[in-house]
Symmetry: C2
Subunit: 217 residues, 2 copies
């Protein structure tokens, strides 16, 4: 899926990602008391080009004024209208190791409409405990809890050899979005959103560039 329809207009998924970034920049500016902002200012904060900002905002039909630029609070509202989903989306973390806990903390309270409402781990010492007030369940209860708590997004930080199995299980239970942080690529049906971020690949790319850098100079 590369494009999405909003107000009967096709919008690239990449634009959606940038809108989220723009909003973050806008929220910070808003907190500082700023009321208006120019495309090149947004661009500078999120290191994209000003043209791209204008293009993205054009796509969602948001207009700025020539002398003041864009009205920050209105733009936040419009972006939120697009991105947010009242009354929010419930999220669960699968695998409560270092990574899982780190993501939990990284996230905790940052977005009121995205709530981590459950965690799962196969370690019997963790099952039944609470981490930051969120209960840790046994893997046996995946289906039951996903349905009962209406969980729609799964964050996968399980060991690589468990990734596929867990992915299958959560999709069957009704999960509609997976963030896969294991090193195992997984397959999901077309109607499930999948993001896979693989740090090892990223590191290898970085190392490759270091090599290029040194060999070509």
């Amino acid at each position: 899926m590369t494009k999405v329809k909003i107000h009967s207009k096709e919008i690239p998924v990449k634009t959606i990602g940038r809108l989220s970034q723009y909003r973050r920049a806008l929220l910070i500016c808003s907190q500082k008391g700023k009321t208006h902002i120019f495309s090149h200012e947004i661009a500078a904060i999120q290191h994209v080009t000003a043209v791209q900002v204008r293009r993205d905002l054009m796509l969602i039909g948001f207009n700025g004024s020539l002398k003041q630029g864009y009205d920050i609070s209105k733009l936040i509202a419009v972006i939120s209208e697009i991105l947010d989903y009242e009354p929010g989306v419930n999220v669960a973390i699968f695998g409560l190791g270092n990574f899982g806990r780190a993501l939990f903390n990284y996230f905790h309270g940052k977005r009121s409409l995205l709530r981590i409402v459950a965690t799962f781990d196969s370690n019997t010492e963790k099952i039944g405990t609470e981490y930051n007030k969120v209960y840790c369940y046994s893997p046996y209860r995946v289906e039951e809890i996903i349905k009962k708590k209406d969980i729609k997004i799964a964050i996968l930080t399980v060991p690589p050899d468990k990734a596929e199995e867990v992915a299958k299980k959560v999709v069957d239970a009704g999960i509609k979005g997976i963030l896969n942080y294991t090193s195992t690529p997984i397959d999901v049906p077309d109607d499930v959103f999948l993001d896979e971020y693989d740090m090892i690949t990223t590191m290898e790319k970085a190392a490759f560039f270091v090599k290029m850098n040194e060999l070509n100079l």
Copy 2:
């Protein structure tokens, strides 16, 4: 930077990333005793298309045989020739919170040529201690240690308001690759590799898709 020269051929950076993925798939197959593999098999493991695999391998000049496909160990060797950098690249983690430690563990021992040789944290309780045998230094010693230990890649997991400052500092000290896991976008000179992964944006994208999914059905 979108393309790279290898053997006087232009190779897209995206291909570099996929080569890293292919190698991982190949290593697993190799361990299972498999000696040859078809493009569609690699494709299935890493969920890309077979055409793309063949195209990527064409770009690096690797040939398979018509009936057996690609020789796994030779392909691993060729990819390693491209990606790896003897005698390895030294890496440091900046910010030894949950996230930093998680990345450390995730990584530890996975790639012998990519070594985490130092960590930095401003917490005085952590400074001077060792985490998994790797020393934690004070931020004051960034420049000194980067140079002394020949560190080339920085993983940033510091608080968002410190990201830019730390980035500037490490670039000045000679870092050539940054993996930025803070929520603050940073700017680096053209010759420094930068990867920014922002989990909040990703989550918001996932939530957006959940919303689309439910509204359109």
